[in-house]
């Protein structure tokens, strides 16, 4: 059976009071003459009682009414009606935003005697957009503020690094050769040497003189402390199983022994033995402090890069859109390597580049260099020493395949698990790789996220591969303790290609 159509008669007799939009008619001075049920509900007016309300009382800003009237009259002169005007009304304490469609009513002499129109309640939508706009403004303000604060902190870090460099220089005869972070083996060798030296000095001084002279030189409890510390120094690797805690513990020990040696009453023990003890304590304290300062310096370098990256990431949208330029891949890599040179040197990691294809890309230089720097920074940070005879290294290669430039960053060290790659967890903002905190690597979890966003904005992307180098069964108990070979490739279209 065909659908029944509504009739014209139904339209002509339709009760506009039941329309789902507000319909009204007012006098020129704002008195409501007609107000349908929907409009009455909007204004909290009783549904059936005579109208005594005046629209002026509902304006959030009464001055808006005159503006609206003037606008409607002006439009009417041009044969138009007021459409989609936004009225901000107040119903008691409630804000009401309506989209107003209004026509003026005139008498025979063309005097304006009133208005007729309809309202659509857009309060929810309006408030949501308002809120969104405020949030956006707040985000922009914050980004600017944070950018400034991070910039100021960067200069503070410069000061810190300069001071640390001076401190390291003051440690004459630095056994670790320069400002770089010493390896675990180097630290172990030096700590063992000096701990044994100090233990030996304690042993010797304990044998000097006789009991009477010794008891006059130092009280009994200090001799006990020396004996306890001598044993602790000889067994420090056993007593302090956490390698990273050894320098701190030995420093406390050395300092304490140094204090005791300063308190030896003169005249009862051979001066050489006392001096020997003081020197040995001082050397160990000095060594452990140097280790700390070198570690701190590397951490500050790391922090400097992280803050710079963070500042660039946060302010990326705030900066004016830069023009893309065409440049060689070689130049891009040069800039990237140059940016990370100090950090690599501090971490004692060599950057090797090879097979750099002779090709060009069209990019936002600053953004792409940041993306590549993030990848190189990760490679340096997460690399282990592969060969005891050589410094650890990371490699950069750039190839051309199917009209895409592939910039590959390879390192040997910290694992990335298969599920982290398959689930793309490593690209999730703020995510730190499961094994990334190995050996104290600071990070924000922004680097890869940011780099991929930039690569994709350039029509490219990022691929990551990480696989074990020794045991290939994940069930092996040392599976995640072995070094992984990780290759991170950022690919970009060749200049002139999409």
């Amino acid at each position: 059976m065909p659908d029944k159509l509504p009739s014209l008669d139904q339209f002509e007799h339709f009760d506009f009071r039941e329309l789902p939009i507000g319909v009204y008619m007012t006098s020129r001075d704002g008195r409501f003459i007609v107000c349908n049920q929907t409009a009455r509900r909007m204004l909290d007016l009783p549904p059936n009682e005579p109208l005594k309300a005046n629209i002026i009382d509902y304006y959030a800003n009464p001055a808006d009414r005159k503006t609206g009237i003037d606008q409607a009259i002006e439009l009417a002169k041009r044969g138009k009606n007021l459409e989609r005007g936004i009225l901000h009304l107040k119903v008691q304490d409630r804000d009401l935003y309506v989209e107003d469609y209004c026509k003026i009513l005139q008498d025979a002499e063309d005097n304006v005697i009133g208005f007729v129109g309809c309202w659509v309640d857009i309060t929810a939508d309006f408030e949501s957009k308002q809120h969104e706009k405020e949030l956006q403004e707040r985000v922009e303000e914050l980004a600017f503020d944070i950018g400034r604060i991070l910039h100021a902190n960067t200069t503070t870090l410069v000061m810190v690094i300069q001071s640390l460099n001076s401190v390291i220089q003051a440690f004459i005869s630095n056994p670790f050769d320069g400002y770089g972070l010493p390896s675990i083996e180097e630290v172990d060798t030096e700590l063992t040497k000096h701990a044994n030296r100090l233990a030996g000095a304690i042993e010797r001084i304990k044998k000097t003189g006789d009991e009477d002279r010794r008891s006059k030189a130092l009280p009994e409890h200090k001799w006990k402390t020396l004996t306890d510390q001598m044993n602790a120094l000889r067994e420090f690797k056993h007593r302090i199983p956490v390698l990273e805690s050894q320098p701190a513990a030995l420093r406390v020990s050395a300092h304490s022994i140094g204090q005791i040696s300063q308190s030896v009453v003169p005249g009862f023990l051979p001066r050489e033995a006392v001096r020997d003890l003081q020197q040995a304590a001082w050397h160990l304290e000095r060594l452990t402090t140097l280790i700390d300062v070198l570690k701190t310096r590397t951490a500050v370098m790391q922090m400097d890069y992280t803050l710079q990256s963070l500042r660039e990431y946060i302010t990326a949208d705030v900066r004016e859109t830069a023009i893309r330029t065409t440049m060689t891949v070689e130049k891009l890599i040069e800039q990237t390597v140059s940016r990370l040179a100090s950090y690599a040197q501090s971490s004692r990691v060599e950057i090797k580049t090879y097979d750099i294809v002779d090709a060009r890309v069209t990019v936002h230089e600053r953004e792409i260099v940041r993306a590549l720097s993030n990848l190189l920074h990760n490679a340096i940070k997460y690399t282990w020493r592969r060969d005891l005879a050589k410094a650890p290294w990371v490699s950069i290669q750039a190839k051309l395949e199917k009209n895409k430039i592939q910039l590959e960053f390879e390192n040997w060290g910290v694992p990335i698990s298969k599920d982290e790659l398959e689930q793309e967890l490593v690209f999730k903002l703020g995510y730190r790789g499961k094994w990334s905190t190995d050996r104290g690597r600071l990070g924000t979890g922004i680097g890869l996220t940011d780099a991929r966003r930039i690569a994709e904005a350039h029509g490219g992307g990022i691929l990551i591969d990480s696989h074990p180098t020794r045991f290939h069964k994940e069930s092996h108990e040392d599976y995640f303790k072995q070094p992984f070979l990780t290759k991170v490739t950022l690919f970009l279209p060749v200049a002139g290609n999409p």
């Binding site: 602790a232 956490v242 406390v252």
Partner: protein, 163 residues
């Protein structure tokens, strides 16, 4: 027998390792440290401790339950406060984890050592009954961790901490 101390802290080996210096130097405690919630649970289930110092911002480790909580930001305001969830479990106020907590644990042997201000987490600490709290900030003395341990032991024995 020396009191057994467990420090649950992911920065223990690196940024905060200086704090362990005095503990090893004095040698008065059987001191251990772990870096994530999964490992902490394993340690706690293996044997009892006399003192637990707990960080609030902890990584989950490999256990899927804690990993899931960590990644589920909406769950309770942020994976970065996984330590709170861990404490609720530890003190038997959260029965969602399959493993029951060890019975020897009580609030009086726990101290919280975290970057959050006390105001940010005091409601949870009050609910859990944890009284010992230390805020991590620049300028901590080397003996901060040692002091915390001694404070907990002193409270447990009903005495005041040695000045």
């Amino acid at each position: 027998m020396k009191p057994r101390v467990l420090w649950i802290e992911d920065s223990a080996r690196f940024e905060l390792n200086n704090l362990t210096g005095p503990i090893y130097f004095y040698g008065n405690y059987d001191f251990q440290q772990v870096e994530d919630v999964t490992t902490a649970v394993n340690f706690l289930m293996a044997k009892p401790f006399d003192v637990l110092i707990v960080d609030i911002r902890l990584p989950p480790g490999t256990d899927p339950y804690w990993k899931d909580l960590y990644q589920n930001v909406a769950a309770y305001g942020g994976g970065e406060k996984l330590g709170i969830k861990f404490l609720y479990w530890l003190l038997s106020q959260d029965g969602n984890y399959q493993q029951k907590p060890p019975e020897w644990v009580s609030p009086d042997l726990i101290g919280v050592f975290t970057v959050e201000n006390y105001q940010e987490i005091h409601e949870e600490l009050d609910v859990l009954g944890i009284k010992v709290f230390k805020h991590k900030s620049a300028g901590l003395s080397d003996t901060t961790l040692l002091d915390l341990i001694e404070e907990i032991l002193a409270r447990k024995s009903g005495g005041r901490k040695k000045q």
